[in-house]
């Protein structure tokens, strides 16, 4: 098995074997990233493909100081952003007062109540704009100001989009959680019985 360093050097020389190894090693992780930004798996795989092409052609620009996975992830996220811009279907028009009014509830969830598949599904069903803002803010940890620059929207829009996205997600998770809890209680009851 080659080390990351050897793989990077091989990829910089465009060696097919190293490229294949890189793909085998990181495609699952990167698809996990891409799927958060897509509305379905096929779209995520398209983003993944474009990300790998970018990675293979730009790997010589990876200076080797930071974390390699971090770099790969950044390329994938940037590709997803480009993809979003390409498929931009609408522009946002959200008033600030909506942002204030929409912030509802502070329900928290049990960590292990939901599987990652379910969380992906919730993200996939979100409108693309909500999904971008939510991912960039909540998971990637960008600031609203940065997100506004990346997506070409207003900082306040980013904030309100995030709140609304969170509200929609919370709503969905609550519904899903109720079903799951009732199911699991039923199962426990059956076991006791």
């Amino acid at each position: 098995m080659m080390s990351d360093r050897q793989i990077i050097e091989g990829c910089a020389k465009h060696e097919r074997k190293a490229q294949q190894l890189l793909y085998d090693k990181y495609s699952r992780y990167l698809l996990g990233v891409c799927l958060r930004y897509a509305s379905n798996k096929a779209e995520a795989e398209d983003i993944l493909q474009d990300s790998f092409l970018k990675i293979f052609f730009n790997i010589k620009n990876f200076c080797g100081t930071g974390s390699f996975t971090g770099w790969l992830r950044k390329v994938a996220v940037n590709t997803a952003i480009t993809h979003y811009h390409k498929n931009l279907k609408y522009r946002y028009n959200v008033d600030i007062d909506e942002y204030v009014s929409v912030e509802t509830g502070t329900t928290s969830f049990e960590e292990d109540l939901f599987s990652s598949e379910e969380l992906y599904k919730v993200l996939n069903e979100l409108p693309a704009g909500y999904r971008m803002v939510f991912n960039l803010y909540a998971v990637e940890g960008y600031k609203h100001k940065e997100i506004a620059e990346i997506l070409g929207i207003d900082t306040n829009t980013s904030k309100s989009q995030y709140s609304r996205a969170k509200a929609v997600i919370r709503n969905k998770l609550e519904k899903l959680g109720k079903i799951k809890i009732s199911l699991s209680e039923k199962r426990e009851y059956e076991v006791i019985d």
Binding site: G32, F109, E111, L123, A138
Partner: protein, 445 residues
């Protein structure tokens, strides 16, 4: 009993669960990626791999070797491989003549035949497979005609009889031997792009008959023939002139015909949304080294495969002119390249609101399969404003976000079943405005 677990917020939940989640890609993704990669790398400069730059280098080297070899052996009567068109095309049609006359390469072939007696057999000077096409022609030298012939050794000058008009005012007199280095014919061009039409002019003033062989299997007995070379290559054009008393003069000249490049390209994506999509121009042109793109919106490019982002929607004519290293050119215009727009907005005529309370009207194609939210089916909508009125004209709903539809509630109360009027205004992302008005039936289940 279920163990009590740590409660976390939505943000933490997603971060912890999905930050390093792995999803197994479909096996076909790998294959498609490697295929795409192979194509991209072929067009990418890399000294360690065989790619288009090497291919280009090999082609250039091969062509230059071929040119060196053919010019080196040109004097030994070696002709290039010839395609025999089989028929003489007299149509001038759409010929672009781009090359001016250059100094002809003087090449003498054949020697004066001193043993002609009465009849002359056309002596084959070209390859056997070509002479098979050239029927041997028997030419009888007529005596005692008006022809004025200069006999070898005499320097008498004769008046021109005005029989010939051609590009050159200087005419030559049949001398019966290659005494001078001068060619006995002229051509309008010696090189050019295929298909190349050339006018030949026989400079000999008086003679009995002449015969042209054009090197591609064709021949002519006219004095000043025109000939079209359809196929690229080098052709040895030979003129033989026969006079009385066995006089014979011959000259030859090499005509070089360059390949005509072909301009071909495709747009990607083929159904583009202007101005959002960046258009890639995929270049499939052949035999060309220079590319001039005109995107139709006033911008141009000279790249092999440019990409372009249009400022606004419109029907643009995209034109590509390619030229080869010899200056031959070809062009292709795609008229109204982006004519099929796929933008639309349509509304349903009924919906069934949820009875469980206001939903806020958020929807996506998957989440609203029960038609609980009144919203449009659409593509490419930019600015958007939806208003819904009751039959009495009261505005009961307004939305500026296409992803927020009407959930059927007004002030927290589910509206009565019946007909409601909707009005939508806005524009598509290409700038095209829309205004629509209609009614919708609110149903209860």
């Amino acid at each position: 009993m279920k163990a009590k677990k740590h409660d976390i917020s939505v943000r933490e939940l997603f971060r912890q669960k999905l930050e390093s989640a792995e999803v197994i890609p479909d096996a076909s993704v790998n294959a498609r990626l490697m295929h795409k990669l192979a194509i991209r790398e072929f067009f990418h400069f890399n000294p360690a791999r065989f790619n288009i730059y090497y291919l280009g280098g090999i082609l250039v080297a091969g062509i230059s070797i071929a040119i060196i070899l053919s010019s080196g052996t040109g004097k030994s009567d070696k002709l290039p491989d010839l395609n025999i068109p089989g028929e003489h095309r007299d149509t001038v049609g759409t010929i672009n003549i781009t090359y001016p006359i250059k100094n002809a390469v003087v090449q003498k072939s054949g020697t004066p035949n001193k043993y002609i007696t009465g009849s002359i057999r056309n002596k084959p000077v070209i390859k056997p497979e070509i002479s098979a096409v050239n029927k041997p022609v028997q030419t009888r030298i007529s005596k005692g005609t008006d022809a004025i012939i200069t006999h070898p050794g005499t320097n008498d000058s004769f008046t021109q009889k005005g029989l010939f008009t051609g590009p050159s005012k200087k005419n030559t007199i049949l001398q019966g031997g290659n005494k001078s280095e001068e060619l006995i014919f002229e051509s309008s061009f010696t090189e050019g792009c295929a298909p190349l039409k050339i006018l030949f002019h026989n400079k000999i003033v008086d003679f009995d008959s002449c015969r042209w062989t054009f090197g591609d299997g064709g021949s002519s007995d006219k004095k000043d023939p025109g000939w079209i070379f359809d196929v690229e290559g080098e052709y040895k054009v030979v003129l033989e002139v026969f006079g009385p008393d066995g006089l014979r003069e011959t000259s030859s000249k090499i005509i070089t015909v360059y390949p005509k490049p072909s301009a071909r390209f495709e747009l990607s994506p083929d159904k583009a949304n202007l101005p959002d999509d960046e258009i890639s121009f995929l270049n499939y042109s052949a035999d060309a080294v220079k590319f001039n793109w005109d995107f139709g919106d006033g911008t141009t490019s000279e790249l092999f495969e440019p990409t372009h982002r249009y400022e606004k929607f419109g029907n643009f004519n995209v034109r590509l002119i390619v030229s080869s290293e010899y200056g031959c050119s070809d062009s292709l215009i795609v008229v109204n390249a982006f004519s099929d727009s796929k933008y639309f907005i349509d509304f349903p005529n009924a919906f069934i609101p949820s009875t469980g309370g206001p939903t806020g009207g958020f929807y996506s194609s998957k989440s609203d399969e029960a038609a609980q939210v009144f919203h449009p089916a659409n593509s490419g909508v930019g600015e958007y404003q939806l208003k819904i009125f009751s039959k009495l004209g009261l505005l009961i709903f307004e939305s500026n976000d296409i992803y927020t539809g009407w959930d059927g509630y007004f002030n927290g109360q589910l509206c009565n079943p019946g007909v409601y009027i909707w009005k939508v205004r806005g524009n598509f992302i290409n700038g095209e405005p829309f205004t629509k008005l209609g009614d919708v039936i609110l149903l209860r289940n």
